[in-house]
């Protein structure tokens, strides 16, 4: 089944015209970390992100290097020249630290500006299992390669426009795995009662 964002004009704004009454985003203040081991794909995807107006695209070749970068950028002091990362785009399979290992590191981190980072997982695999693994490890979005302008933009916009609450259970931490804009018609199998849910609202 195609991702809802891949169906032209159905659930995404990316194809709207200039005259439509929607906010036009300016991504110049966003900093994206691209983790991709293929040099050709690095160049292509980084260029695509820049064509969307993304301010800074940092590129590295594997999960291990990404961990090093995030450790520095997210620990920056106020007023520092170092820019914090806003979104991580990571390939799935890489010899120098896989996307899933990176995702696990991010979601298990203590610091809020790391563990809540939006992560978009890129994969050359097309199986449902991969998508389920990405979701169950806390990815916000998954995108199957080869990418197109519309699919990449759609995932970025989804991360901006439709952030899901994070859920912490005994064995999961990540964005709510149920997309709230999609009606669930099956039987209610939830075991958790409302009073067992602790809700945290971030304050400014």
């Amino acid at each position: 089944m195609p991702h809802p964002l891949d169906q032209k004009g159905k659930s995404s704004n990316i194809f709207r015209n200039k005259d439509d009454d929607v906010t036009t985003y300016d991504l110049k203040n966003l900093n994206v970390l691209l983790v991709e081991d293929s040099r050709s794909m690095q160049t292509l995807i980084a260029s695509m992100l820049r064509s969307f107006g993304v301010g800074d695209v940092l590129v590295c070749e594997g999960g291990n290097e990404a961990i090093g970068i995030l450790t520095i950028t997210q620990a920056r002091k106020k007023g520092s020249d170092i820019k914090g990362i806003d979104i991580v785009l990571t390939d799935w399979l890489m010899p120098q630290g896989s996307g899933v290992e990176l995702l696990e590191w991010i979601r298990s981190h203590e610091a809020d500006n790391i563990k809540f980072l939006p992560v978009l997982l890129l994969s050359a695999y097309t199986t449902q299992k991969v998508i389920a693994t990405a979701r169950d490890n806390g990815a916000n979005e998954a995108l199957v390669k080869p990418v197109s302008g519309a699919t990449l933009a759609g995932r970025i916009l989804s991360i901006i426009d439709k952030p899901r609450a994070f859920v912490k259970t005994e064995n999961f931490f990540g964005p709510d795995r149920r997309r709230q804009d999609m009606a669930f018609k099956g039987p209610d199998r939830r075991k958790i009662q409302a009073e067992m849910i602790k809700v945290n609202h971030e304050q400014l």
Partner: protein
């Protein structure tokens, strides 16, 4: 149902800083869009990338073939694991680039090779025959410009790889 600490679920509703940084209202549910033309520009980048496809695919394929030869000649040694990792990376790259450039068959061979390398240490001669069959099939597909997996030539290459896998696994 009894409740315990293990049943505890926490929900975290975060301020949408990303939306604010992009110029939207973080408290609004209205969705935004990119400037018209940006998607087309990104697609043009893909089209430009694909213009050089043959050169890029050829380059990666040559690198893969050379690295594989180096590994096959190396024999059992400490460098073999490192070389196997490089062969894996190149197979992965072929999968991505060939797929994007319309070489579906080669992309499938790249994926098959990559997945095979994950599962094995490539320390038996029989396993090396399987890798060699993949590399030969990819080179043949490129040399004869066999792009998709529909024609008889493509079927023949697929059959050769399949036989190698079945016979030597």
């Amino acid at each position: 149902m009894s409740s315990s600490d293990n049943d505890q679920v926490e929900l975290f509703h975060r301020i949408n800083r990303l939306k604010a940084k992009a110029g939207g209202d973080p408290n609004s549910s209205h969705e935004g869009a990119l400037e018209p033309g940006m998607i087309e520009k990104a697609d043009e980048l893909i089209a430009d990338f694909c213009k050089d496809c043959d050169t890029v695919v050829k380059h990666v394929l040559e690198k893969l073939s050379a690295k594989w030869k180096e590994m096959a000649d190396a024999g059992p040694s400490s460098t073999r694991e490192k070389l196997a990792q490089e062969v894996f990376t190149l197979a992965h790259e072929i999968k991505d680039i060939a797929g994007m450039c319309g070489y579906t068959l080669m992309s499938d061979f790249g994926e098959s090779l990559r997945d095979y390398i994950i599962e094995t240490k490539l320390d038996r001669d029989a396993q090396r025959i399987i890798v060699q069959a993949h590399v030969d099939a990819m080179n043949a597909a490129f040399r004869h410009n066999i792009r998709d997996d529909g024609g008889p030539a493509a079927q023949e290459l697929k059959a050769l790889v399949k036989v190698a896998i079945e016979k030597h696994s």
